[in-house]
Point group: C2
Chain length 302, copies 2
Amino acid sequence: MGKNKDEKKAKGGKRGAGSAGDLTPADAFRSPSPPVALSAISTERGPIGPADKEEAAEALLDLGVELDDLQSRLFAQGTAGDRRRVLVILQGMDTSGKDGVINHVMGLMSPAGLSLAAFKKPTAEELAHDFLWRIEKKLPEAGLIGVFNRSQYEDVLVVRVHNLVPSEVWSARYEAINAFEKALVDDGVTVVKCFLHISPEAQAERLTARLDDPERVWKYNPGDVDERGFWAEYQTAYAALLEKCSTDVAPWYIIPSDRKWYRNWAIGALLAQTLRELDPQYPPPSFDLEAERVRLKEKLLL
Amino acid sequence: MGKNKDEKKAKGGKRGAGSAGDLTPADAFRSPSPPVALSAISTERGPIGPADKEEAAEALLDLGVELDDLQSRLFAQGTAGDRRRVLVILQGMDTSGKDGVINHVMGLMSPAGLSLAAFKKPTAEELAHDFLWRIEKKLPEAGLIGVFNRSQYEDVLVVRVHNLVPSEVWSARYEAINAFEKALVDDGVTVVKCFLHISPEAQAERLTARLDDPERVWKYNPGDVDERGFWAEYQTAYAALLEKCSTDVAPWYIIPSDRKWYRNWAIGALLAQTLRELDPQYPPPSFDLEAERVRLKEKLLL
């Protein structure tokens, strides 16, 4: 498989990646060097990717087959002592599509190989610990693909925007997060941090659509509209974390998310590239295969 | 949807259920009254279900669409304070297909609405507590579908077969489990206990196939062959738990599992019936919809 995989990697996925030469998804979506001017970065599409919804659906189907295979290998090698694992972090404004990515991209793989965690408003117990305490407890084990719906970054987002702690406290957290992630990487975690970048217009549409759909109105939280009032402050806070925490060992990716189909393809392609580069392998037997064949034959006769 | 759903329920699913009149999957697979003679129960098929692999694949695809919708409703109502949740327990001999059910049936739903736990050999910490301690910690929250790959029943299976504790200890556990499950049911958990029933011949085939496939040999554990030597003892232990722990509030189902396609269909159909009967509903807004429409319009203008 090696050859074939390298070819795919160079093209950044099998489909719809031809428009910008040999850019991989990681190249295409990597957060730029500081300063990060979010308003200058497209919320619609990056330099590569499918042209329309139909092409995206087809590409995602192919990616799903590949993701499922790669995940299965990662899981298998995890059972044989390989410590490698993946942590996908999803961050973005309300309605940016964190749940949608979990349903439509992570849902392409087996639930047995996933480790999901959603970080909501911290509980009293969580607040009585340092901000990374609740994060540590939800890290994926060897062989798994962890997915965080929100993360440690909430502590430099909502906390910063609403001054929930003094500025000297939240401002020290960027470095703490970098050190935390460095330690994870050193221990075999590949960290894939995705900022789902949407425009205020797309959010307005989605909030309105939720109100008008009886099957989705439960997702509508009047508080989201209040938070929308802090759009500029949130964009500033996002730019700051992209500038300070997009490190070489754990880079941030900016995923244009105004179109759900583009967003899903982009994250699927980025995750597939990540797994391809890990190149997980089904482990060889830990026992003497020939001897076991003989033993099994004897035992089965009983 | 109510009418339509009742019709489907009565037929035990849309497809392939005609052969035994109006038997539902729950009727068709429910463990019989004691004594349970496992050797007299088919490992190939029950009284209802698809006739072949192709029909099963089509039926499972349909079930997947329905399961995904029902799971989404269950999740939604869970966010609005409804405590109901589901716990699927998968038990069976090695190679009976517990992992396969998770991949191919549970994988039809969104990972966000699932809560998976696999119970392996207990750790030293787990052994230092009562046998239900580790189980409690993995129970699904409101709105979720929990799936246990092995469960509290290991403590009356491997523990009984290998005399890991005195017989007066394991023999007291049936009643403890019934009381535990009764409390769960009283708290809003629907417990769906599936025994994946395979023949020794099917196991022999699967063990041999694993040895011969480089992509699956990692799943082969020489210890499984040793355990196979206790086949009769395990069947006795399974019969005992089916007799003692198939209660009205938390019945056991015996799933013929020699054919993977039949097994997957049966569990998918049983879970769909369970969810249909729960009849989960998207919750109405918890706020004044009209007032919020006006407020949103104003806010979006900013």
